[in-house]
Chain length 339, copies 2
């Protein structure tokens, strides 16, 4: 990343001054020790996750402001916590910076993180700042959950309904619009803005958890399996099926798509975005049919039952209307390779 010579850079102020600036974004009581101390509630388990984001691999100045990098990094980690059925306690931020990064870039990164986190009362509780040839942001998030309410991938049962908590494909379409504005020529301005916003400011679905807790008795284990759709809806369904030793049928007309897709994309391409696009950060949940429909009603807009868990190991995409031929859903398109 190149910057004009103008703004104050981190190499101008040194590590200690930079840390002082960043500490403004942290609760004062946690600053200054070798590690941060967090209170946990008795009887709950600790849930931890970590993500690494690299400049020009996971974000780029073309599509993502520092504020958005911060928001997205925080959202991705909170989404992992939500996908476990846990509530966040805090995050740590490990920051590797080139010397010529403007101090304002780092401040905006932290502003983006804290703006996303504050909705969930989640503090930045610590971190590390080091020098590097490449900007790298490593976030770890901590949450807690009652052991019986933890949501795992490997508990999907034959007959379970497959629920999505919202639309899929918006984030990938938003990224495409940022990279290739010309493909959105026929798209109304508000639709374009909505898709780009979905990419830049995804919402972790922590709001889903209280709905689950209300529906299910807290004294018996939650009969829910699931994960988030950060690597795409197809990836989530395939991963759940693999871990649970089951298959699935997805009804393609039931997969909720952004309204902006309606008159813009051919059905097949809309489905590609939804299945393989990734970074929508919705939850994909497998649970008995009756509570599944209650949850969908409670969640409203975009939430849907999109299929059923079956025996076997195949994930089949089916169209009741017969418009699109049946196809087997695989992971091949959802993966990042080292190349």
């Amino acid at each position: 990343m190149q910057y004009p010579g103008g703004p104050v850079q981190v190499q101008d102020i040194g590590e200690q001054k930079l840390l002082q600036i960043l500490q403004r974004f942290c609760p004062p009581e946690i600053i200054g020790d070798d590690a941060a101390v967090l209170l946990t509630e008795p009887g709950k388990s600790l849930v931890v996750t970590t993500d690494v984001l690299v400049d020009n691999v996971h974000f780029s100045e073309v599509t993502t402001s520092p504020h958005d990098v911060g928001w997205r990094a925080a959202a991705a980690n909170l989404s992992d916590i939500a996908a476990m059925g846990a509530w966040p306690l805090g995050i740590t931020v490990g920051l590797a910076l080139t010397g010529n990064v403007p101090v304002s870039w780092v401040e905006q990164l932290y502003e983006g993180m804290t703006e996303c986190l504050q909705k969930y009362n989640t503090p930045i509780v610590g971190g590390d700042v080091v020098r590097s040839p490449v900007i790298t942001v490593a976030i770890s998030a901590f949450g807690q959950a009652y052991p019986g309410r933890i949501i795992r991938r490997n508990q999907a049962k034959v007959g379970d309904a497959i629920v999505v908590t919202g639309v899929h494909g918006a984030s990938a379409a938003g990224l495409e619009l940022l990279l290739h504005p010309e493909i959105g020529e026929n798209l109304p301005h508000s639709d374009r803005t909505a898709l780009i916003h979905a990419h830049q400011r995804p919402q972790p679905r922590l709001d889903v958890l209280p709905i689950l807790w209300e529906i299910f008795d807290s004294h018996s284990p939650l009969p829910i399996s699931g994960m988030d759709s950060s690597d795409g809806l197809a990836d989530a369904v395939v991963q759940i099926c693999r871990a649970s030793g089951v298959g699935a049928v997805l009804e393609s007309p039931q997969i909720s798509l952004p309204t902006a897709f309606d008159h813009w994309l051919p059905k097949q391409q809309a489905l590609e975005y939804a299945l393989y696009g990734g970074e929508d950060f919705e939850l994909v949940l497998c649970l008995p049919k009756e509570p599944a429909h209650v949850i969908v009603q409670n969640l409203g807009k975009g939430a849907a039952v999109i299929g059923t868990i079956i025996e076997g190991s195949t994930v089949l995409l089916h169209d009741q209307n017969g418009k699109i031929p049946d196809q087997v859903v695989t992971l091949n398109r959802g993966f990042q390779h080292f190349s």
Copy 2:
């Protein structure tokens, strides 16, 4: 870092295969969900810390094998946990790799980490592997402690003895010997090996904690302030004094040095290594004189009372023997700047 074309590289096997290889180093029950689940004990607080290491900034193939990079990264994080008076629960590892890193390099990194961790029954509970132009290792460590036993920096009291749990300067001298072997020409082979080993395989001082817990009644708060000496002994004393609003006198003849220094280094240079070298990962503790001496006796070799907390804000290095003039200890030499 450059590698010959021979060995299998991470870009040859892809992310999923690499993750499978790395999962061999993790407990099987924690694998496969969006986040890891750890059990915490009731009544204890959660302690979290994070470190980022960058190739050619924090380690280099000249001085550090991948096994040592892993060991040192794990040790540094466990040391932060120990410095808080906490016992480790687990670590997460965020790994950014260039495509041409040999798979064996990554395996050796994990072997080094797990070898250091297993002494303390601490598992690798999760992580992330991503592509990057620069090898970067981001570790977060989690531990727990009873709230009354947490060791903070800001509790040092006038009259407290200042205790070090072992010798200082060995790690920095070991690094110098790796970078400039010629300076060790007059050093016996066993001394040279010991210093290099101190640099490559530092020991987090978790063994100190049970000794503290035995000496102090568990029903009243631990009357101890402290931190680890990862950034140097001088840095640790200055940071504790700043946080506590006090000063200190260090008695230079009391600062324990490696026996290898005895006939090798002039006293002044030996002290420079000890005060400003860093990465010895000892604990620097401030506590009342009587229990301080009990702890030193219990710890044995290298442990010592090296000074006293006084009023004011100055950290003075004093030599009772008058061989070295009094000097004020500052942080200037202990800092990394972005440059």
